[in-house]
C-alpha cells in the first residue's frame, strides 16, 4: 500500500469504478465463452486497457472487500446488492477481505484470477476447495490477497514457565564438567556422544551428481506412474491378506463407490484391473461369506449390464479426448459376451469417428470370441442390435453365425433379410450358400435378386434346381425382366458349358414352324450365353445376329461383346 493520499489526488475513484466494471464484465465473459471466442479475447483486451490509466497514477490498487461492495480509499467503487451477481460477494463469501492488484497483473494473472473466482463461485459448500485454496495454487506474483483468520488459532504454544533450576548453578556447572570429562577423548574408548568432526563423513552433507539425478528421476516417475493401479493393488492386497469379513466388506464397499467413478473418469485400465481382481479374489479367497463372494462376482456382471455399457459408450463418445486404445481394449476384454448387444446398438450412434473405429474393432474381437452370443442375438428378432450384428457378421465373415443368419431370413423385415443374404454370401461356405438358396424363394424381389446373383457368382450348384425352375419352366411368370435375367445368368454361371444347349433352345426358333419363345426369355438367354464365353455359346449368339426381333439382336450383340473383351 503506498501513500494514502498520493493516489487519491492523482487517480479519481471513477477510474477504479471503471476498472471494476470492466473486471466484472470480463469475469462473465470468461465464464460464458471459451478462450478461442472473440468475445473472450475482447474482454481480455478491455481489462488490459482499463488498467492503463490506473498504472499511470499508481503501482497498486488496494481494495477492501465487503459483502456487496469493493472499497478503494474509503470510496465505494463497486456495489451489487444482489449477492448471486455480486463480484465482491464471490470474494467475500470465502473469506477474502483485502485484494491488492499490482502493476503486471494485467498481463496474465488477472485472467487466471477471474477464472479462479468463477471456479470457486460454483463449488458446492462441501467441496474440498474454496477460493482461498484455489488462489494459492495459482501462485500469483502481482495479485495479493488476505483471508484473515480463516483457520483460527489453534491452542496457543506457550513457553513452559521456568521454575528455579533443579540444582544450584554451582552444582549444575560441576555436572556439566563431569559430563564432559565422562566423554574426554583421553579415554581409550570414547563414550557415546563425544563429538569429533572426524566422525563425520563430510560427503554426507552434499548429494553427488548421481544422487541428484536419482532424485530427479524419482520425482519424474512419481508424476508419470499409474497411482490408481498402485493404490488398487494395495486395496486388493489388503483384501487378500486379511481374513476378517469386516475388512472384506469395507474393501468391497470402497470398490462399489470407486468403480463407477473410474468408469466415469475414463480410467478404463483401472476398471479392467478391478474386474480382473474381483473375479480372481472371488475364486481364490477362502472363508469368504457367500454374500461377499457374490458381490465380488457382481462387478463383472454389472459392467456388462446394458445401462452401464451404454453409459460407457456415451462417456467415450462425449469425452473430449480420444480414449487410450489400449486401456479401452483392456477393459472391454473383461466384458461378458452379453455386452456385445449394447455395444452394437451404440456403434451407429457414436459421433466421434476415432471412438467408433476403436469400438468397432473391439466389438469385432468380442463377437469373434463369442459366436454363441452372436447366434443368440441373430435369433433374437426383436433385438435393436440385429442390423448391427448382421453387419458385423458380414464384415467378419463369421461362419459360426450362418445358422443365425438363416434365422434372420424368417424376419418380417425385408431389409434385414437382404442384409442377411449379403452376409451369408460373404461367408460363402456351403452352409451359408444353402441359406442363400433358401432366399431364392423369398417374398421380396430385392432379397431374391441378391440371392440369385450370389448363387450365380459363386457357381453354387446346390441352387441349380431352384434356378432351373425359373429358366426352364413357366412356373415363375410373376418375375420381371431384370430378375429373370439374373436367374438366366445364374443358370449360365452354375452350369457353364452345360447350359449352352438349353439356352440355345430358348434363343433359337424351333420346330417346323420355327416357333419362338417370348422375346423377354430369348433376350435373357442371349445375355446368359454371354456369361459362358465358350465357342459354342458364341456360335449360338452369332446365329441370332440377324434375328428379326430387334431386342433379341441387341441382346445378342451386347452378349457378344463379352467375347471380344
Amino acid at each position: 500500500m503506498t501513500a494514502v493520499s498520493d493516489s487519491e489526488i492523482i487517480l479519481p475513484p471513477s477510474q477504479i469504478e471503471e476498472l471494476l466494471r470492466t473486471l466484472v464484465k470480463a469475469q462473465r465473459a470468461f465464464q460464458m465463452y471459451l478462450p478461442n471466442n472473440p468475445i473472450y479475447h475482447r474482454a481480455m483486451g478491455n481489462v488490459r486497457d482499463a488498467f492503463k490509466p490506473v498504472w499511470g497514477a499508481t503501482d497498486e490498487v488496494i481494495l477492501t472487500i465487503e459483502e456487496t461492495e469493493c472499497i478503494w480509499e474509503e470510496t465505494v467503487v463497486y456495489q451489487q446488492l444482489n449477492k448471486t451477481e455480486s463480484f465482491s460477494w464471490s470474494l467475500y463469501k470465502d473469506g477474502m477481505r483485502i485484494l491488492v492488484l499490482q502493476r503486471g497483473c494485467e498481463q496474465d494473472e488477472i485472467v487466471r484470477f477471474l477464472q479462479t473466482v468463477n471456479q470457486a463461485k460454483h463449488l458446492p459448500t462441501d467441496a474440498g476447495d474454496d477460493l482461498s485454496t484455489l488462489l494459492w495454487e495459482q501462485d500469483f506474483e502481482h495479485i495479493l490477497y488476505r483471508f484473515p483468520e480463516l483457520l483460527g488459532d489453534g491452542a496457543p504454544l506457550e513457553v513452559a514457565v521456568m521454575g528455579p533450576p533443579s540444582a544450584p548453578p554451582d552444582e549444575v556447572r560441576s555436572e556439566v564438567k563431569k559430563d564432559v570429562e565422562e566423554g574426554t577423548p583421553a579415554d581409550e574408548s570414547r563414550p557415546k556422544g563425544v563429538v569429533d568432526i572426524d566422525d563425520f563423513d563430510s560427503t554426507l552433507y552434499f548429494l553427488d551428481d548421481s544422487e541428484v539425478k536419482y532424485l530427479a528421476d524419482e520425482v519424474e516417475r512419481e508424476y508419470s506412474r499409474d497411482l490408481r493401479a498402485s493404490a488398487l493393488a494395495g486395496l486388493f492386497d489388503v483384501f487378500e491378506l486379511n481374513q476378517r469379513p469386516d475388512v472384506h466388506q469395507e474393501v468391497i464397499d470402497i470398490l462399489d463407490v470407486l468403480f463407477p467413478n473410474l468408469l466415469n473418469a475414463g480410467e478404463f485400465r483401472a476398471c479392467a484391473a478391478v474386474l480382473r481382481e474381483t473375479q480372481a479374489l472371488a475364486k481364490v479367497t477362502e472363508d469368504l461369506t457367500p454374500e461377499l463372494r457374490e458381490r465380488l462376482r457382481g462387478f463383472d456382471r454389472r459392467l456388462s449390464e446394458p445401462t452401464i455399457v451404454g453409459q460407457m459408450m456415451q462417456s467415450l463418445d462425449e469425452g473430449g479426448m480420444p480414449p487410450n486404445e489400449d486401456d479401452v481394449a483392456v477393459l472391454l476384454r473383461q466384458l461378458r459376451p452379453e455386452a456385445l448387444e449394447t455395444i452394437v446398438i451404440w456403434l451407429p450412434r457414436l459421433a466421434s469417428g476415432p471412438v467408433r473405429t476403436l469400438l468397432e474393432s473391439l466389438a469385432d474381437e468380442l463377437a469373434t470370441a463369442n459366436p454363441q452370443e452372436v447366434l443368440r442375438l441373430l435369433r433374437t428378432h426383436e433385438s435393436e442390435a440385429l442390423p448391427g450384428i448382421i453387419a458385423q457378421v458380414a464384415r467378419l465373415q463369421l461362419s459360426p453365425a450362418v445358422a443365425g443368419l438363416g434365422s434372420v431370413l424368417e424376419h418380417p423385415d425385408e431389409g434385414l433379410r437382404l442384409s442377411a443374404v449379403g452376409a451369408l454370401g460373404g461367408i460363402g461356405t456351403p452352409g451359408a450358400m444353402t441359406q442363400v438358396e433358401r432366399a431364392l424363394g423369398d417374398s421380396d424381389r430385392a432379397v431374391r435378386l441378391a440371392a440369385v446373383k450370389l448363387v450365380g457368382e459363386r457357381g453354387y450348384k446346390g441352387a441349380q434346381r431352384r434356378v432351373e425352375e425359373v429358366v426352364l419352366t413357366k412356373r415363375r411368370r410373376d418375375i420381371d425382366f431384370s430378375e429373370r435375367r439374373a436367374f438366366f445368368e445364374a443358370y449360365a454361371l452354375i452350369l457353364e458349358e452345360g447350359a449352352v444347349k438349353a439356352l440355345a433352345e430358348i434363343l433359337r426358333p424351333r420346330g417346323f414352324l420355327q416357333r419362338k419363345r417370348n422375346p423377354e426369355q430369348r433376350m435373357c438367354a442371349a445375355l446368359a450365353l454371354g456369361r459362358i464365353t465358350s465357342p459354342d455359346a458364341q456360335a449360338v449368339l452369332e446365329s441370332v445376329a440377324t434375328d428379326r426381333d430387334r431386342q433379341v439382336r441387341n441382346a445378342a450383340a451386347a452378349a457378344l461383346k463379352a467375347f471380344k473383351e
Binding site: 533450576p165 548453578p169 566423554g183 554426507l204 552433507y205 552434499f206 494395495g234 470407486l258
Partner: protein
C-alpha cells in the same frame, strides 16, 4: 526445564500473565482503532470539526488507559503483525482493515516502533497525525522518517518517538517468522486433531482446512523453514499422533524443498505427509496411548494403521477426486525399500518417492520423540546415524542423506556442551555450508551453571575473535534430560 515444587507459583504466574496479555490485546486494539479513526477523520475534515476533536479525545483516552497500567506504550510493527508492549494483536474481522491501513502508513514512513511516553499530550497526537498525512503526499519518499522526526522535534513533541524499521528489521523478520510459525504449527495440530477425531467419530472432516494448513506450511517452509523445524522439538503440546503428523509434514516439506521439489509438488507431498498416520484414528485409544510395552496383538493392531489409513482415505469425503497419492503414502510409509516391513505386499509394487521421503521424516520424528510406547527419545544425531548406518531400517539411502543434508551434523534440537561449559540446543544449521559442524545455538545454561530462560541466548558457532579463532566450539552432545531441559521451550 520444570520443577514440580514451583508448580503453584507457576500457575499463578501463568494466570496473571494471561490476564495481562488479555488486557494488552484489548487495550492495544482500542488504541490502534482510535489511532486509525483519528487519522481518518483528520484526513476528511478540518481540525476544528467535531468529529476530529472527538477522535483525538478517544485516542488520548485509549493511550491513557494503557499508560496507566503499563507506564509507557511501545507499538511495534513486525512484518504483518502489530505488537503492543510485546503482545501481538490479533487480526480480526472487525479490525483487519484498520490494522492494514496503519501498517501501510508506518511502512511508508519506514517506522518500526512508535514509543508513547507516559506524559503524551493530546496536542502531540494531533501534530503527529497531521504530519503523517501531509508528508505522505510528498513526491519524494526518501528520508520521510527523518523529516517526520525533525518536524516532531520542532513542534516540541516529546511524548511520541519513533524508531526506524531498518536495524531492527532482521529481528522483526525473525520475530514475525517465529510468530507465523507458531500460528501455523498450532493450526496444523488443530486441523489434524479435527481430522483424526472426525475419523474416530465417523464424521466428515474438512479437507478444505487440511489444504489451507498444508498451504500455510509450504509457504512457511519456503520463506523461513527454521522457525517451523524448531517447533518440531516441542513435546507434550498435544496428543502425540497430532503433533507427530504436523512434524512429519514439516520435515517432509523441508526435505522436499531440499531436493528441489516445486511449490505444487511440495503441496502434494505435504497433504500426503499430514495424513500419513490417519489410520491411527482407528487404533483403540487404550492401545495407542499405552505406556507399557505392547503385546503381540497390540503390535498387530498398531501395524494395521498404514492400510487402515489407506482405506480411510479412500472413503474420505471432500476431495474432488480420490486422493491416490495420499493413499499410497499412508499405505507405504512403513514399507522398507526391499518391500519388507508392513503391510506385506503380494502384488507387484514400486515405492513412490513421496512414500520413501515421508518414511524418513516419520522415522526421524518418531525416534526423537517421547511417545507412549517409547519413553526415552533418542538424540537427533544418533537417530540420523542409525538411519544412515543400519541397512535393516530399510530407508532409501539417498533420502536419508538428503535428510542429514537438511539437518546438518547437529540436527535442530540437539543438546550440546560447549568448550565454555555452556549447555546449548541447536537452533538451526549454519547457513554457510563450510560450517556444517558449527550450527547456530541457543544457550540454555550459561558458563556459571545458571539457567538462561527461553528463548535462550543466541550463539553463532561460526563467530571468530580478532585472531581468527572460533569463539565457541562443541565438545559433546549430551542428553537434555540430564539437566532438566525441555528443548521445545526454547523454540516457542
Amino acid at each position: 526445564m520444570t520443577d514440580p515444587l514451583g508448580g503453584r507459583q507457576d500457575a499463578e504466574d501463568q494466570r496473571s500473565a494471561t490476564d495481562e496479555e488479555g488486557f494488552l490485546r484489548h487495550s492495544g486494539r482500542a488504541l490502534l482503532l482510535s489511532l486509525y479513526a483519528a487519522l481518518r477523520s483528520l484526513k476528511l475534515y478540518p481540525l476544528e470539526n467535531e468529529t476530529v476533536q472527538k477522535a483525538l479525545d478517544d485516542l488520548q483516552a485509549s493511550a491513557g488507559a494503557l499508560i496507566e497500567a503499563e507506564d509507557e506504550i511501545e507499538v511495534r510493527m513486525a512484518g504483518d503483525f502489530i505488537f503492543v508492549n510485546s503482545t501481538r494483536l490479533r487480526l480480526e474481522l472487525d479490525n483487519y482493515a484498520s490494522f492494514s491501513q496503519i501498517l501501510s502508513i508506518f511502512r511508508t514512513f519506514d517506522i518500526g516502533t512508535l514509543h508513547v511516553g507516559a506524559k503524551v499530550e493530546r496536542r502531540e497526537w494531533q501534530v503527529f497525525l497531521s504530519l503523517l498525512l501531509s508528508l505522505s503526499t510528498r513526491e519524494d519518499p526518501e528520508d520521510l522518517l527523518d523529516e517526520l522526526q525533525s518536524r516532531l522535534a520542532r513542534a516540541d513533541v516529546a511524548g511520541l518517538s519513533l524508531e526506524p524499521r531498518s536495524g531492527a528489521h532482521d529481528m522483526d523478520e525473525q520475530e514475525m517468522a517465529r510468530e507465523m510459525a507458531k500460528r501455523t504449527y498450532s493450526q496444523g495440530v488443530a486441523v489434524t486433531k479435527d481430522v483424526v477425531n472426525s475419523v474416530r467419530m465417523g464424521r466428515a472432516a474438512s479437507i478444505k482446512r487440511v489444504k489451507r494448513v498444508v498451504q500455510g506450511i509450504v509457504d512457511q517452509v519456503l520463506n523461513n523453514e527454521t522457525s517451523l523445524i524448531g517447533l518440531t522439538t516441542l513435546r507434550d503440546y498435544d496428543e502425540y499422533t497430532f503433533t507427530h503428523s504436523v512434524n512429519v509434514c514439516i520435515f517432509s516439506i523441508a526435505l522436499g524443498k531440499k531436493i528441489g521439489l516445486t511449490k505444487t509438488q511440495l503441496y502434494d507431498l505435504g497433504l500426503a505427509a499430514l495424513l500419513h498416520d490417519v489410520g491411527k484414528a482407528r487404533v483403540p485409544l487404550d492401545v495407542l496411548n499405552k505406556t507399557t510395552s505392547l503385546d503381540e496383538d497390540e503390535w498387530r493392531i498398531i501395524q494395521e494403521h498404514p492400510w487402515t489409513g489407506a482405506l480411510t482415505l479412500f472413503t474420505m469425503r471432500g476431495y474432488d477426486e480420490t486422493p491416490y497419492r495420499s493413499i499410497l503414502v499412508a499405505y507405504e510409509h512403513h514399507m522398507k525399500t526391499d518391500l519388507t516391513g508392513y503391510p506385506r505386499s503380494r502384488r507387484s509394487r514400486e515405492l513412490g518417492i513421496y512414500s520413501k521421503l515421508v518414511a524418513v521424516a516419520d522415522g526421524f520424528d518418531a525416534a526423537t520423540t517421547r511417545r507412549s510406547y517409547q519413553t526415552i527419545p533418542i538424540q537427533p544425531d544418533e537417530v540420523l546415524r542409525e538411519m544412515w548406518e543400519n541397512p535393516r531400517r530399510g530407508y532409501d539411502k539417498v533420502m536419508v542423506k538428503a535428510l542429514i543434508n537438511l539437518m546438518g551434523v547437529y540436527p535442530v534440537g540437539t543438546c550440546v556442551i560447549l568448550d565454555t561449559f555452556e549447555v546449548a540446543v541447536v537452533a538451526q544449521a549454519n547457513p554457510d555450508p563450510a560450517f556444517i559442524n558449527r550450527p547456530l545455538l541457543k544457550v540454555v545454561i550459561n558458563e556459571d551453571g545458571a539457567v538462561v530462560p527461553p528463548p535462550g541466548k543466541t550463539v553463532d558457532l561460526g563467530g571468530r575473535d580478532a585472531a581468527g579463532n572460533f569463539l565457541h566450539s562443541i565438545v559433546k552432545v549430551t542428553n537434555p534430560e540430564r539437566y532438566g531441559i525441555t528443548v521445545g521451550d526454547y523454540f516457542v
